[in-house]
Amino acid sequence: MKSWSLPARIGFPFLLLAIALFAVFPFYYAIVSSLKAPTELFTVSYAPSLNFSNYASVFAEQPFGRNILNSVVVAVVVVALSLGLGVTAAFALGRVQFRGRAALLLTILGVSMFPQVAVLSGMFELIRALGIYNSLPGLVLANLILTLPFTVWVLTTFMRELPKELEEAAYVDGATPLIVVRRVFLPIMGPALVTTGLLAFIAAWNEFLFALTFTLSNEMRTVPVAIALITGGSQYELPWGNIMAASVIVTVPLIVLVLIFQRKIVSGLTAGAVKG
Protein backbone atom coordinates (compact mmCIF):
# COMPACT_ATOMS: atom_id res chain seq x y z
CA MET A 1 0.00 0.00 0.00
CA LYS A 2 2.92 2.32 0.79
CA SER A 3 4.16 2.40 -2.78
CA TRP A 4 0.75 3.39 -4.17
CA SER A 5 0.03 6.61 -6.02
CA LEU A 6 -2.09 9.27 -4.33
CA PRO A 7 -5.37 8.62 -6.21
CA ALA A 8 -5.08 4.89 -5.48
CA ARG A 9 -4.53 5.59 -1.81
CA ILE A 10 -7.58 7.84 -1.63
CA GLY A 11 -9.75 5.60 -3.78
CA PHE A 12 -8.98 2.34 -2.01
CA PRO A 13 -10.96 3.02 1.19
CA PHE A 14 -13.95 4.01 -0.93
CA LEU A 15 -13.72 0.75 -2.87
CA LEU A 16 -13.65 -1.19 0.42
CA LEU A 17 -16.56 0.81 1.74
CA ALA A 18 -18.55 0.13 -1.42
CA ILE A 19 -17.81 -3.61 -1.20
CA ALA A 20 -18.84 -3.83 2.44
CA LEU A 21 -21.94 -1.70 1.93
CA PHE A 22 -23.10 -3.69 -1.10
CA ALA A 23 -22.61 -6.95 0.82
CA VAL A 24 -24.32 -5.94 4.04
CA PHE A 25 -27.02 -3.44 3.04
CA PRO A 26 -29.73 -5.85 1.73
CA PHE A 27 -29.71 -7.85 4.94
CA TYR A 28 -29.70 -4.65 7.00
CA TYR A 29 -32.72 -3.46 5.04
CA ALA A 30 -34.49 -6.79 5.69
CA ILE A 31 -33.91 -6.34 9.43
CA VAL A 32 -35.22 -2.78 9.29
CA SER A 33 -38.31 -3.88 7.37
CA SER A 34 -38.98 -6.77 9.74
CA LEU A 35 -39.04 -4.36 12.69
CA LYS A 36 -41.66 -2.03 11.24
CA ALA A 37 -45.34 -1.96 12.09
CA PRO A 38 -47.39 -3.30 9.15
CA THR A 39 -48.63 0.19 8.26
CA GLU A 40 -45.12 1.70 8.28
CA LEU A 41 -43.92 -0.79 5.69
CA PHE A 42 -45.24 1.24 2.81
CA THR A 43 -42.98 4.21 3.33
CA VAL A 44 -39.28 3.67 2.72
CA SER A 45 -37.05 4.43 5.70
CA TYR A 46 -33.67 3.19 6.77
CA ALA A 47 -33.88 3.20 10.55
CA PRO A 48 -35.66 0.43 12.50
CA SER A 49 -38.63 1.31 14.67
CA LEU A 50 -38.29 -1.78 16.91
CA ASN A 51 -41.81 -3.07 16.46
CA PHE A 52 -41.80 -6.83 16.99
CA SER A 53 -45.36 -7.55 15.83
CA ASN A 54 -44.16 -9.22 12.60
CA TYR A 55 -42.10 -11.70 14.62
CA ALA A 56 -45.14 -12.63 16.68
CA SER A 57 -47.41 -13.04 13.68
CA VAL A 58 -44.96 -15.27 11.76
CA PHE A 59 -45.36 -17.88 14.47
CA ALA A 60 -49.07 -17.22 14.96
CA GLU A 61 -50.15 -17.42 11.31
CA GLN A 62 -48.35 -20.61 10.30
CA PRO A 63 -46.54 -23.52 11.95
CA PHE A 64 -43.22 -21.71 11.63
CA GLY A 65 -41.79 -23.23 14.82
CA ARG A 66 -42.53 -26.64 13.38
CA ASN A 67 -40.87 -25.63 10.09
CA ILE A 68 -37.70 -24.60 11.92
CA LEU A 69 -37.70 -27.90 13.82
CA ASN A 70 -38.13 -29.79 10.52
CA SER A 71 -35.18 -27.97 8.99
CA VAL A 72 -32.99 -28.61 12.03
CA VAL A 73 -33.89 -32.32 12.15
CA VAL A 74 -33.37 -32.86 8.42
CA ALA A 75 -30.08 -30.95 8.33
CA VAL A 76 -28.65 -32.62 11.46
CA VAL A 77 -29.53 -36.14 10.29
CA VAL A 78 -28.20 -35.45 6.79
CA VAL A 79 -24.92 -34.11 8.21
CA ALA A 80 -24.53 -37.07 10.59
CA LEU A 81 -25.15 -39.61 7.81
CA SER A 82 -22.87 -37.82 5.35
CA LEU A 83 -20.01 -37.55 7.83
CA GLY A 84 -20.44 -41.15 9.01
CA LEU A 85 -20.41 -42.54 5.48
CA GLY A 86 -17.86 -39.97 4.34
CA VAL A 87 -15.04 -40.51 6.86
CA THR A 88 -14.36 -44.16 6.06
CA ALA A 89 -14.83 -43.55 2.34
CA ALA A 90 -12.44 -40.61 2.48
CA PHE A 91 -9.87 -42.78 4.24
CA ALA A 92 -10.12 -45.34 1.45
CA LEU A 93 -9.91 -42.68 -1.26
CA GLY A 94 -7.25 -40.54 0.38
CA ARG A 95 -4.90 -43.02 2.00
CA VAL A 96 -5.09 -46.27 0.06
CA GLN A 97 -3.83 -46.91 -3.44
CA PHE A 98 -6.17 -49.08 -5.50
CA ARG A 99 -7.15 -49.40 -9.10
CA GLY A 100 -10.01 -47.18 -10.28
CA ARG A 101 -9.59 -44.64 -7.50
CA ALA A 102 -9.11 -41.65 -9.79
CA ALA A 103 -12.19 -42.61 -11.80
CA LEU A 104 -14.20 -43.02 -8.61
CA LEU A 105 -13.14 -39.58 -7.37
CA LEU A 106 -14.14 -38.01 -10.67
CA THR A 107 -17.53 -39.75 -10.50
CA ILE A 108 -18.09 -38.42 -7.00
CA LEU A 109 -17.13 -34.92 -8.11
CA GLY A 110 -19.47 -35.32 -11.08
CA VAL A 111 -22.39 -36.26 -8.81
CA SER A 112 -21.79 -33.18 -6.67
CA MET A 113 -22.26 -31.04 -9.78
CA PHE A 114 -25.43 -32.82 -10.87
CA PRO A 115 -28.43 -30.67 -11.68
CA GLN A 116 -31.00 -31.63 -9.04
CA VAL A 117 -33.80 -31.55 -11.59
CA ALA A 118 -32.11 -34.41 -13.47
CA VAL A 119 -33.07 -36.84 -10.70
CA LEU A 120 -36.40 -35.29 -9.75
CA SER A 121 -38.81 -37.80 -11.25
CA GLY A 122 -36.67 -40.81 -10.34
CA MET A 123 -36.36 -39.52 -6.79
CA PHE A 124 -40.11 -38.90 -6.64
CA GLU A 125 -40.78 -42.50 -7.65
CA LEU A 126 -38.23 -43.82 -5.12
CA ILE A 127 -39.69 -41.75 -2.28
CA ARG A 128 -43.22 -42.86 -3.16
CA ALA A 129 -42.11 -46.50 -3.36
CA LEU A 130 -40.45 -46.30 0.07
CA GLY A 131 -43.61 -44.72 1.50
CA ILE A 132 -41.78 -41.61 2.74
CA TYR A 133 -43.48 -38.96 0.58
CA ASN A 134 -44.39 -35.82 2.56
CA SER A 135 -42.20 -36.85 5.49
CA LEU A 136 -38.83 -35.87 6.92
CA PRO A 137 -37.08 -39.19 6.07
CA GLY A 138 -37.94 -38.48 2.42
CA LEU A 139 -36.19 -35.12 2.61
CA VAL A 140 -33.19 -36.67 4.37
CA LEU A 141 -32.84 -39.23 1.60
CA ALA A 142 -33.11 -36.62 -1.15
CA ASN A 143 -30.69 -34.21 0.53
CA LEU A 144 -27.97 -36.86 0.67
CA ILE A 145 -27.38 -36.34 -3.05
CA LEU A 146 -26.27 -32.78 -2.25
CA THR A 147 -24.17 -33.42 0.84
CA LEU A 148 -22.67 -36.91 0.48
CA PRO A 149 -20.45 -36.45 -2.61
CA PHE A 150 -19.39 -33.04 -1.35
CA THR A 151 -18.51 -34.42 2.10
CA VAL A 152 -16.52 -37.32 0.67
CA TRP A 153 -14.64 -34.99 -1.68
CA VAL A 154 -13.68 -32.42 0.98
CA LEU A 155 -12.76 -35.04 3.59
CA THR A 156 -10.62 -36.84 1.01
CA THR A 157 -8.63 -33.66 0.32
CA PHE A 158 -8.16 -33.20 4.08
CA MET A 159 -7.14 -36.85 4.55
CA ARG A 160 -4.44 -36.84 1.94
CA GLU A 161 -2.79 -33.73 3.38
CA LEU A 162 -1.93 -35.68 6.55
CA PRO A 163 1.61 -37.10 6.83
CA LYS A 164 2.24 -40.73 5.97
CA GLU A 165 4.18 -41.40 9.19
CA LEU A 166 0.95 -41.09 11.19
CA GLU A 167 -0.45 -44.44 10.24
CA GLU A 168 2.83 -46.28 9.57
CA ALA A 169 3.70 -46.62 13.26
CA ALA A 170 0.23 -48.00 13.97
CA TYR A 171 0.50 -50.55 11.15
CA VAL A 172 3.91 -51.65 12.43
CA ASP A 173 2.27 -52.29 15.79
CA GLY A 174 -0.16 -54.59 14.01
CA ALA A 175 -3.25 -52.33 13.85
CA THR A 176 -5.96 -53.07 11.28
CA PRO A 177 -7.14 -50.29 8.92
CA LEU A 178 -10.36 -49.90 10.91
CA ILE A 179 -8.37 -49.30 14.11
CA VAL A 180 -6.16 -46.85 12.25
CA VAL A 181 -9.20 -44.87 11.15
CA ARG A 182 -10.73 -44.87 14.62
CA ARG A 183 -7.63 -44.35 16.75
CA VAL A 184 -5.32 -42.36 14.50
CA PHE A 185 -7.40 -40.38 12.02
CA LEU A 186 -10.67 -39.62 13.80
CA PRO A 187 -9.02 -37.79 16.72
CA ILE A 188 -7.11 -35.42 14.44
CA MET A 189 -9.96 -35.03 11.93
CA GLY A 190 -11.97 -32.92 14.37
CA PRO A 191 -11.49 -29.53 12.68
CA ALA A 192 -12.03 -31.03 9.22
CA LEU A 193 -15.24 -32.72 10.38
CA VAL A 194 -16.50 -29.45 11.87
CA THR A 195 -15.81 -27.53 8.65
CA THR A 196 -17.29 -30.15 6.36
CA GLY A 197 -20.23 -30.71 8.64
CA LEU A 198 -20.97 -27.00 8.76
CA LEU A 199 -20.87 -26.66 4.97
CA ALA A 200 -23.10 -29.72 4.59
CA PHE A 201 -25.46 -28.30 7.23
CA ILE A 202 -25.77 -25.04 5.29
CA ALA A 203 -26.43 -26.94 2.04
CA ALA A 204 -29.17 -29.03 3.66
CA TRP A 205 -30.64 -26.04 5.51
CA ASN A 206 -30.92 -24.06 2.28
CA GLU A 207 -32.19 -26.86 0.03
CA PHE A 208 -35.38 -25.82 -1.75
CA LEU A 209 -36.30 -27.87 -4.84
CA PHE A 210 -36.63 -31.28 -3.12
CA ALA A 211 -38.33 -29.82 -0.06
CA LEU A 212 -40.81 -28.02 -2.32
CA THR A 213 -41.55 -31.09 -4.44
CA PHE A 214 -41.55 -33.88 -1.85
CA THR A 215 -43.75 -32.26 0.81
CA LEU A 216 -47.43 -31.44 0.69
CA SER A 217 -48.60 -30.14 4.04
CA ASN A 218 -47.59 -27.01 5.95
CA GLU A 219 -46.44 -29.12 8.90
CA MET A 220 -43.85 -31.03 6.86
CA ARG A 221 -42.29 -28.05 5.12
CA THR A 222 -38.79 -26.89 5.83
CA VAL A 223 -37.93 -23.25 6.40
CA PRO A 224 -37.03 -22.20 2.81
CA VAL A 225 -40.29 -23.63 1.43
CA ALA A 226 -42.30 -22.12 4.27
CA ILE A 227 -40.81 -18.68 3.57
CA ALA A 228 -41.29 -18.98 -0.19
CA LEU A 229 -44.94 -19.91 0.29
CA ILE A 230 -45.96 -17.35 2.93
CA THR A 231 -49.11 -15.70 1.65
CA GLY A 232 -51.33 -13.05 3.11
CA GLY A 233 -55.06 -12.49 3.25
CA SER A 234 -55.31 -11.45 -0.37
CA GLN A 235 -53.69 -13.03 -3.38
CA TYR A 236 -52.09 -9.79 -4.49
CA GLU A 237 -50.59 -8.40 -1.34
CA LEU A 238 -47.92 -10.44 0.37
CA PRO A 239 -47.29 -9.86 4.09
CA TRP A 240 -43.80 -8.48 3.56
CA GLY A 241 -43.26 -7.74 7.25
CA ASN A 242 -43.81 -11.40 8.14
CA ILE A 243 -41.63 -12.60 5.28
CA MET A 244 -38.78 -10.33 6.36
CA ALA A 245 -39.16 -11.39 10.00
CA ALA A 246 -39.05 -15.07 9.02
CA SER A 247 -36.04 -14.40 6.81
CA VAL A 248 -34.16 -12.71 9.63
CA ILE A 249 -35.01 -15.50 12.10
CA VAL A 250 -33.56 -18.24 9.90
CA THR A 251 -30.57 -16.24 8.69
CA VAL A 252 -29.16 -14.82 11.93
CA PRO A 253 -28.05 -18.21 13.35
CA LEU A 254 -26.39 -19.04 10.02
CA ILE A 255 -24.53 -15.73 9.90
CA VAL A 256 -23.37 -16.15 13.50
CA LEU A 257 -22.10 -19.67 12.72
CA VAL A 258 -20.37 -18.52 9.56
CA LEU A 259 -18.67 -15.59 11.28
CA ILE A 260 -17.47 -17.78 14.16
CA PHE A 261 -16.06 -20.41 11.80
CA GLN A 262 -14.93 -17.89 9.17
CA ARG A 263 -11.43 -19.20 8.60
CA LYS A 264 -12.46 -22.85 8.62
CA ILE A 265 -15.22 -22.21 6.11
CA VAL A 266 -12.90 -20.49 3.69
CA SER A 267 -10.42 -23.38 3.95
CA GLY A 268 -13.25 -25.90 3.47
CA LEU A 269 -14.57 -24.10 0.40
CA THR A 270 -11.11 -23.99 -1.13
CA ALA A 271 -10.50 -27.65 -0.31
CA GLY A 272 -13.77 -28.42 -2.07
CA ALA A 273 -13.01 -26.43 -5.16
CA VAL A 274 -9.48 -25.22 -5.79
CA LYS A 275 -7.45 -28.23 -6.74
CA GLY A 276 -5.91 -26.97 -9.94
Binding site: I19, T88, V96, Q97, L105, V181, I202, V258, G276
Partner: protein
Protein backbone atom coordinates in the same frame (compact mmCIF):
# COMPACT_ATOMS: atom_id res chain seq x y z
CA UNK B 1 0.24 -41.18 -10.19
CA UNK B 2 3.20 -40.42 -7.99
CA UNK B 3 2.27 -41.77 -4.63
CA UNK B 4 4.37 -42.49 -1.63
CA UNK B 5 2.66 -45.85 -1.26
CA UNK B 6 3.41 -46.67 -4.90
CA UNK B 7 6.59 -48.56 -4.14
CA UNK B 8 4.64 -50.82 -1.82
CA UNK B 9 2.25 -51.70 -4.64
CA UNK B 10 5.09 -52.03 -7.11
CA UNK B 11 7.03 -54.49 -4.96
CA UNK B 12 4.43 -57.18 -5.55
CA UNK B 13 2.01 -56.14 -2.81
CA UNK B 14 2.69 -57.11 0.78
CA UNK B 15 0.11 -58.73 3.01
CA UNK B 16 -0.49 -55.32 4.62
CA UNK B 17 -1.14 -53.61 1.26
CA UNK B 18 -3.64 -56.27 0.27
CA UNK B 19 -5.35 -55.97 3.65
CA UNK B 20 -5.48 -52.21 3.19
CA UNK B 21 -7.01 -52.47 -0.27
CA UNK B 22 -9.55 -55.01 0.96
CA UNK B 23 -10.66 -52.83 3.84
CA UNK B 24 -10.63 -49.76 1.59
CA UNK B 25 -13.20 -51.40 -0.65
CA UNK B 26 -15.18 -52.40 2.43
CA UNK B 27 -15.03 -48.82 3.70
CA UNK B 28 -16.22 -47.50 0.38
CA UNK B 29 -19.11 -49.91 -0.01
CA UNK B 30 -21.72 -48.24 2.26
CA UNK B 31 -21.05 -44.81 0.76
CA UNK B 32 -21.23 -46.17 -2.78
CA UNK B 33 -24.47 -48.03 -2.08
CA UNK B 34 -26.11 -44.87 -0.69
CA UNK B 35 -24.74 -42.75 -3.51
CA UNK B 36 -26.14 -45.17 -6.05
CA UNK B 37 -29.49 -45.18 -4.28
CA UNK B 38 -29.85 -41.39 -4.16
CA UNK B 39 -28.08 -40.40 -7.39
CA UNK B 40 -27.47 -43.27 -9.82
CA UNK B 41 -30.81 -45.00 -9.58
CA UNK B 42 -32.99 -41.85 -9.72
CA UNK B 43 -30.96 -40.63 -12.72
CA UNK B 44 -31.45 -43.93 -14.54
CA UNK B 45 -35.17 -43.87 -13.75
CA UNK B 46 -35.51 -40.27 -14.91
CA UNK B 47 -33.86 -41.12 -18.22
CA UNK B 48 -36.14 -44.16 -18.52
CA UNK B 49 -39.24 -42.05 -17.76
CA UNK B 50 -38.29 -39.69 -20.58
CA UNK B 51 -39.16 -42.50 -23.01
CA UNK B 52 -42.59 -43.08 -21.44
CA UNK B 53 -45.92 -41.29 -21.01
CA UNK B 54 -45.87 -41.57 -17.20
CA UNK B 55 -47.90 -39.06 -15.22
CA UNK B 56 -47.52 -37.85 -11.65
CA UNK B 57 -50.96 -38.97 -10.52
CA UNK B 58 -50.15 -42.61 -11.19
CA UNK B 59 -46.43 -42.96 -11.67
CA UNK B 60 -46.58 -46.77 -11.70
CA UNK B 61 -48.58 -47.07 -14.92
CA UNK B 62 -47.06 -45.94 -18.17
CA UNK B 63 -46.32 -46.99 -21.73
CA UNK B 64 -43.03 -46.95 -23.53
CA UNK B 65 -43.30 -44.38 -26.31
CA UNK B 66 -39.74 -44.19 -27.62
CA UNK B 67 -38.48 -40.76 -28.56
CA UNK B 68 -41.96 -39.21 -28.80
CA UNK B 69 -41.32 -36.89 -25.82
CA UNK B 70 -38.28 -35.51 -27.61
CA UNK B 71 -39.64 -35.42 -31.13
CA UNK B 72 -42.71 -36.72 -32.92
CA UNK B 73 -44.73 -35.70 -35.95
CA UNK B 74 -48.07 -35.35 -34.12
CA UNK B 75 -47.54 -32.76 -31.38
CA UNK B 76 -43.89 -31.98 -31.93
CA UNK B 77 -42.27 -32.93 -28.65
CA UNK B 78 -39.64 -31.11 -26.62
CA UNK B 79 -37.28 -30.30 -29.46
CA UNK B 80 -39.94 -28.38 -31.36
CA UNK B 81 -41.32 -26.54 -28.34
CA UNK B 82 -40.38 -22.86 -28.61
CA UNK B 83 -40.83 -22.48 -24.82
CA UNK B 84 -38.16 -25.11 -24.24
CA UNK B 85 -35.69 -23.39 -26.55
CA UNK B 86 -36.50 -20.13 -24.86
CA UNK B 87 -35.66 -21.77 -21.52
CA UNK B 88 -32.38 -23.06 -22.97
CA UNK B 89 -31.55 -19.59 -24.25
CA UNK B 90 -32.52 -17.97 -20.92
CA UNK B 91 -30.33 -20.42 -19.01
CA UNK B 92 -27.29 -19.86 -21.23
CA UNK B 93 -27.78 -16.10 -21.23
CA UNK B 94 -28.14 -16.07 -17.45
CA UNK B 95 -25.11 -18.31 -16.92
CA UNK B 96 -22.80 -16.41 -19.26
CA UNK B 97 -23.72 -12.91 -18.09
CA UNK B 98 -23.88 -13.62 -14.36
CA UNK B 99 -20.71 -15.71 -14.24
CA UNK B 100 -18.82 -13.08 -16.28
CA UNK B 101 -19.87 -10.27 -13.96
CA UNK B 102 -19.13 -12.40 -10.90
CA UNK B 103 -15.68 -13.27 -12.19
CA UNK B 104 -14.73 -9.63 -12.79
CA UNK B 105 -16.22 -8.39 -9.51
CA UNK B 106 -14.81 -11.40 -7.66
CA UNK B 107 -11.34 -10.61 -9.00
CA UNK B 108 -11.64 -6.97 -7.90
CA UNK B 109 -12.82 -7.93 -4.42
CA UNK B 110 -10.14 -10.61 -4.10
CA UNK B 111 -7.39 -8.20 -5.19
CA UNK B 112 -8.65 -5.62 -2.69
CA UNK B 113 -8.73 -8.17 0.13
CA UNK B 114 -5.24 -9.37 -0.80
CA UNK B 115 -3.86 -5.98 0.27
CA UNK B 116 -2.78 -5.65 3.91
CA UNK B 117 -4.95 -2.99 5.53
CA UNK B 118 -6.42 -2.42 9.00
CA UNK B 119 -9.88 -3.96 9.32
CA UNK B 120 -9.36 -6.53 6.57
CA UNK B 121 -11.00 -9.20 8.74
CA UNK B 122 -14.14 -7.08 8.96
CA UNK B 123 -14.49 -6.62 5.22
CA UNK B 124 -13.95 -10.33 4.68
CA UNK B 125 -16.60 -11.10 7.29
CA UNK B 126 -18.96 -8.65 5.57
CA UNK B 127 -18.66 -10.32 2.18
CA UNK B 128 -19.35 -13.73 3.76
CA UNK B 129 -22.85 -12.54 4.71
CA UNK B 130 -24.44 -12.80 1.23
CA UNK B 131 -22.91 -16.26 0.88
CA UNK B 132 -24.36 -17.39 4.22
CA UNK B 133 -27.89 -16.18 3.48
CA UNK B 134 -30.17 -18.92 2.11
CA UNK B 135 -31.00 -18.40 -1.57
CA UNK B 136 -34.73 -18.27 -0.86
CA UNK B 137 -34.20 -15.60 1.77
CA UNK B 138 -32.04 -13.49 -0.54
CA UNK B 139 -34.64 -13.86 -3.30
CA UNK B 140 -37.36 -12.64 -0.91
CA UNK B 141 -35.19 -9.81 0.45
CA UNK B 142 -34.51 -8.58 -3.05
CA UNK B 143 -38.13 -9.00 -4.19
CA UNK B 144 -39.02 -6.63 -1.39
CA UNK B 145 -36.28 -4.15 -2.31
CA UNK B 146 -37.33 -4.39 -5.96
CA UNK B 147 -41.06 -4.11 -5.15
CA UNK B 148 -42.78 -1.96 -7.79
CA UNK B 149 -44.79 0.20 -5.36
CA UNK B 150 -43.03 0.13 -1.99
CA UNK B 151 -39.51 -1.01 -2.89
CA UNK B 152 -36.52 1.01 -1.73
CA UNK B 153 -34.77 0.75 -5.09
CA UNK B 154 -37.53 2.60 -6.92
CA UNK B 155 -37.74 5.10 -4.06
CA UNK B 156 -33.99 5.73 -4.14
CA UNK B 157 -33.86 5.89 -7.93
CA UNK B 158 -36.65 8.47 -8.06
CA UNK B 159 -35.19 10.58 -5.26
CA UNK B 160 -31.85 10.67 -7.02
CA UNK B 161 -33.63 11.48 -10.27
CA UNK B 162 -32.37 8.34 -12.00
CA UNK B 163 -35.85 6.92 -12.51
CA UNK B 164 -38.75 8.93 -13.90
CA UNK B 165 -41.37 6.49 -12.65
CA UNK B 166 -41.43 3.26 -10.59
CA UNK B 167 -40.19 0.21 -12.48
CA UNK B 168 -41.74 -3.25 -12.07
CA UNK B 169 -38.29 -4.84 -11.95
CA UNK B 170 -39.26 -8.49 -11.69
CA UNK B 171 -42.45 -8.36 -13.74
CA UNK B 172 -41.45 -6.33 -16.78
CA UNK B 173 -39.91 -8.42 -19.58
CA UNK B 174 -37.16 -5.82 -20.12
CA UNK B 175 -35.85 -5.88 -16.58
CA UNK B 176 -36.78 -9.32 -15.19
CA UNK B 177 -33.59 -11.04 -16.35
CA UNK B 178 -31.54 -8.06 -15.21
CA UNK B 179 -33.08 -8.30 -11.74
CA UNK B 180 -32.37 -12.03 -11.52
CA UNK B 181 -28.77 -11.52 -12.59
CA UNK B 182 -28.30 -8.69 -10.10
CA UNK B 183 -29.48 -10.84 -7.19
CA UNK B 184 -27.34 -13.75 -8.30
CA UNK B 185 -24.30 -11.50 -8.58
CA UNK B 186 -24.91 -10.18 -5.08
CA UNK B 187 -25.31 -13.68 -3.68
CA UNK B 188 -22.40 -15.46 -5.31
CA UNK B 189 -19.65 -12.90 -5.93
CA UNK B 190 -18.36 -13.58 -2.37
CA UNK B 191 -17.86 -17.26 -3.20
CA UNK B 192 -15.95 -16.31 -6.32
CA UNK B 193 -13.90 -13.71 -4.44
CA UNK B 194 -12.95 -16.13 -1.67
CA UNK B 195 -11.84 -18.82 -4.10
CA UNK B 196 -9.77 -16.34 -6.12
CA UNK B 197 -8.34 -14.86 -2.90
CA UNK B 198 -7.20 -18.33 -1.82
CA UNK B 199 -5.47 -18.64 -5.19
CA UNK B 200 -3.87 -15.20 -4.86
CA UNK B 201 -2.50 -15.98 -1.42
CA UNK B 202 -0.63 -18.98 -2.77
CA UNK B 203 1.29 -16.87 -5.32
CA UNK B 204 5.02 -16.42 -4.70
CA UNK B 205 5.89 -12.89 -3.59
CA UNK B 206 9.32 -12.77 -5.26
CA UNK B 207 8.04 -11.95 -8.77
CA UNK B 208 6.17 -9.00 -7.28
CA UNK B 209 9.33 -7.81 -5.59
CA UNK B 210 11.17 -8.06 -8.89
CA UNK B 211 8.40 -6.19 -10.73
CA UNK B 212 8.34 -3.48 -8.08
CA UNK B 213 12.10 -3.02 -8.16
CA UNK B 214 11.97 -2.72 -11.95
CA UNK B 215 9.26 -0.06 -11.58
CA UNK B 216 6.70 -1.82 -13.75
CA UNK B 217 3.22 -0.28 -13.74
CA UNK B 218 0.79 -2.18 -11.43
CA UNK B 219 -1.75 -2.69 -14.24
CA UNK B 220 0.96 -4.34 -16.35
CA UNK B 221 2.00 -6.49 -13.38
CA UNK B 222 -1.60 -7.60 -13.00
CA UNK B 223 -2.00 -8.71 -16.61
CA UNK B 224 1.50 -10.15 -17.03
CA UNK B 225 2.10 -11.76 -13.63
CA UNK B 226 -0.97 -12.04 -11.42
CA UNK B 227 -3.55 -13.10 -13.98
CA UNK B 228 -1.50 -15.90 -15.59
CA UNK B 229 -0.48 -17.24 -12.18
CA UNK B 230 -3.97 -17.20 -10.70
CA UNK B 231 -5.56 -18.53 -13.90
CA UNK B 232 -5.88 -22.20 -12.80
CA UNK B 233 -7.64 -21.27 -9.55
CA UNK B 234 -9.81 -18.80 -11.47
CA UNK B 235 -10.84 -21.41 -14.03
CA UNK B 236 -11.86 -23.92 -11.38
CA UNK B 237 -13.94 -21.25 -9.66
CA UNK B 238 -15.55 -20.36 -13.01
CA UNK B 239 -16.44 -24.01 -13.71
CA UNK B 240 -18.03 -24.46 -10.32
CA UNK B 241 -20.03 -21.27 -10.69
CA UNK B 242 -21.03 -21.99 -14.28
CA UNK B 243 -22.33 -25.46 -13.39
CA UNK B 244 -24.27 -23.89 -10.55
CA UNK B 245 -25.69 -21.20 -12.82
CA UNK B 246 -26.76 -23.70 -15.50
CA UNK B 247 -28.94 -25.63 -13.05
CA UNK B 248 -30.38 -22.56 -11.30
CA UNK B 249 -33.86 -23.06 -9.96
CA UNK B 250 -34.73 -21.57 -6.58
CA UNK B 251 -33.74 -17.94 -7.15
CA UNK B 252 -35.74 -17.69 -10.37
CA UNK B 253 -38.69 -19.68 -9.04
CA UNK B 254 -39.08 -17.29 -6.11
CA UNK B 255 -38.13 -14.02 -7.79
CA UNK B 256 -40.09 -14.25 -11.03
CA UNK B 257 -42.01 -17.54 -10.58
CA UNK B 258 -42.99 -19.24 -13.85
CA UNK B 259 -42.58 -16.14 -16.05
CA UNK B 260 -41.46 -17.00 -19.57
CA UNK B 261 -38.97 -14.13 -19.65
CA UNK B 262 -36.68 -15.74 -17.10
CA UNK B 263 -37.74 -19.40 -17.13
CA UNK B 264 -34.64 -21.61 -17.13
CA UNK B 265 -34.33 -25.27 -18.07
CA UNK B 266 -34.71 -26.41 -14.45
CA UNK B 267 -37.83 -24.28 -13.93
CA UNK B 268 -39.29 -25.53 -17.23
CA UNK B 269 -38.64 -29.18 -16.36
CA UNK B 270 -40.15 -28.87 -12.91
CA UNK B 271 -43.21 -27.06 -14.25
CA UNK B 272 -43.88 -29.88 -16.72
CA UNK B 273 -43.20 -32.53 -14.09
CA UNK B 274 -45.06 -31.16 -11.10
CA UNK B 275 -47.49 -28.44 -12.20
CA UNK B 276 -48.60 -30.19 -15.40
CA UNK B 277 -48.08 -33.68 -13.88
CA UNK B 278 -46.40 -34.85 -17.08
CA UNK B 279 -43.59 -37.04 -15.76
CA UNK B 280 -42.63 -38.39 -19.19
CA UNK B 281 -42.26 -35.01 -20.88
CA UNK B 282 -40.74 -33.38 -17.79
CA UNK B 283 -38.21 -36.19 -17.55
CA UNK B 284 -37.33 -35.64 -21.20
CA UNK B 285 -36.55 -32.00 -20.34
CA UNK B 286 -34.55 -33.11 -17.27
CA UNK B 287 -32.58 -35.54 -19.38
CA UNK B 288 -31.82 -32.86 -21.95
CA UNK B 289 -30.66 -30.53 -19.19
CA UNK B 290 -28.41 -33.29 -17.86
CA UNK B 291 -26.96 -33.95 -21.31
CA UNK B 292 -26.39 -30.26 -22.03
CA UNK B 293 -24.59 -29.70 -18.72
CA UNK B 294 -22.53 -32.88 -19.08
CA UNK B 295 -21.61 -31.93 -22.65
CA UNK B 296 -20.62 -28.37 -21.73
CA UNK B 297 -18.54 -29.62 -18.79
CA UNK B 298 -16.65 -32.13 -20.88
CA UNK B 299 -16.08 -29.57 -23.64
CA UNK B 300 -14.92 -26.96 -21.16
CA UNK B 301 -12.54 -29.26 -19.31
CA UNK B 302 -11.08 -30.60 -22.55
CA UNK B 303 -10.72 -27.20 -24.21
CA UNK B 304 -9.55 -25.36 -21.11
CA UNK B 305 -7.20 -28.20 -20.18
CA UNK B 306 -8.28 -27.80 -16.57
CA UNK B 307 -7.22 -30.50 -14.16
CA UNK B 308 -9.90 -31.27 -11.62
CA UNK B 309 -7.77 -33.02 -9.02
CA UNK B 310 -8.20 -36.60 -10.17
CA UNK B 311 -4.75 -37.49 -8.82
CA UNK B 312 -4.22 -38.35 -5.22
CA UNK B 313 -1.03 -37.50 -3.47
Amino acid sequence: MTDRSDHATASGGSELTRAKVRSALLFLAPMLVVLFLVAGWPLIRTIWFSFTDASLTNIGEYNFIGFDNFYNSEWGGLLSDPDWWRAVWNTLRFAVISVSIETVLGLIVALALNVQFPGRGWVRAAILIPWAIPTIVSAKMWSWMLHDQFGMLNDLGMRLGMLAEPVAWTASPDTAMMAVIMVDVWKTTPFMALLILAGLQMLPSDCYEAARVDGIHPVRVFFRVTLPLVYPALMVAVIFRALDALRIFDLIYVLTSNSKDTMTMSVYARQQLVDFQDVGYGSAASTMLFLIIAGLTIAYITLGKVKLGGDVR
